[in-house]
């Protein structure tokens, strides 16, 4: 894992540097024109969030039912990464909506559910910070609930009437515009690698903190 960190970091940085060129060369969407290019960071941010939520969901389950300390640390790290990507997803969506829909925010199914998902994971972090002893298990339960909410957020545009584009937009993008499809998946690969790097950095912090706790205990003895 540590051996991979630097090469992946260099690759991610290089791809990030190239991403504005790729985005600028992608064709304009016919109705939204320039502002639609927010999509090339907006969608990948939600994909990175989905990856982090999945990690948090699985590791929370492992911690809750098996009690492995590493799973707790991984769940905590993933929850923080989820909040960061969720924050960017909500803000970039809001900025896009202001131009495309004329409003900063709309309380429709997709936006409201995405907002609730973000709140669940902010709640997770607050429980970890202020919950005191035993908060790990409560936070792990929140991680499982947060993970269970994610599929509803994804399918909300198909199940309910919303102003947000449907999931079919991505399904048909490869046929309607291969150039757009290539750029969006290029950016998604960057965001997934960034998500992995942030997760590794956060995990290292949690591992060091666990080591510090052990040192304190040893010093007291």
């Amino acid at each position: 894992m540590q051996r991979l960190f630097i090469p992946v970091l260099i690759l991610t940085a290089a791809m990030f540097a190239y991403s504005p060129v790729a985005i600028a060369s992608a064709p304009y969407e016919s109705t939204m024109l320039l502002v639609q290019k927010i999509f090339y960071y907006h969608f990948p941010a939600w994909m990175a969030l989905t990856a982090a939520v999945t990690v948090c969901f699985v590791s929370s389950g492992i911690y809750l039912f098996k009690g492995h300390a590493w799973a707790d640390r991984l769940g905590f790290a993933a929850a923080e990464v989820t909040v960061i990507f969720g924050m960017f997803g909500l803000v970039s969506g809001s900025v896009w909506g202001r131009k495309a829909w004329g409003v900063w925010w709309q309380w429709d199914a997709r936006l409201t559910m995405a907002f609730l998902l973000e709140l669940i994971f902010i709640g997770y972090l607050l429980v970890r910070k202020y919950g005191g002893p035993g908060s790990e298990k409560l936070a792990a339960a929140m991680g499982i609930f947060g993970g269970a909410t994610a599929p509803f957020v994804y399918k909300s545009v198909d199940w309910w009437r919303t102003i947000h584009p449907k999931t079919s937009v991505m399904a048909s993008l490869g046929e309607t515009s291969p150039e757009m499809w290539y750029v969006v998946w290029f950016c998604t690969a960057i965001f997934l690698m960034l998500s992995g790097l942030l997760l590794a950095a956060r995990m290292r912090l949690e591992t060091l903190r666990a080591g510090l706790d052990r040192l304190y205990l040893a010093a007291e003895d």
Partner: protein
């Protein structure tokens, strides 16, 4: 005779209706001024696009800085604790 006239009139109406429906809207007699543009017409997209990307960069830089700061704090605390433990063992 009356029946034939009615049939002819009905045919004319039915034929004319789609033709009338296909007519373009009447040309305006004059321009109608409005005080404000619709919201989507008055906003240039550039600042929104740049704003979204700049926000992402700032958010990432801030988050990386917080990770780096927390790591540095834990590492210095560990060093201090190890130093104290070594001093204690030496006594």
């Amino acid at each position: 005779m009356v029946r034939r006239l009615l049939t002819t009139a009905l045919s004319v109406v039915l034929t004319a209706a789609p033709a009338l429906a296909l007519q373009p809207p009447p040309a305006p007699d004059g321009f109608v001024p409005i005080d404000t543009l619709p919201p989507t017409e008055q906003l240039p997209a550039g600042p929104f696009l740049v704003g979204a990307y700049v926000f992402f960069l700032l958010l990432m830089m801030f988050y990386l800085w917080t990770i780096w700061r927390r790591l540095a704090k834990v590492e210095s605390e560990m060093r201090e604790l190890e130093r104290r433990t070594e001093r204690g063992q030496a006594r």
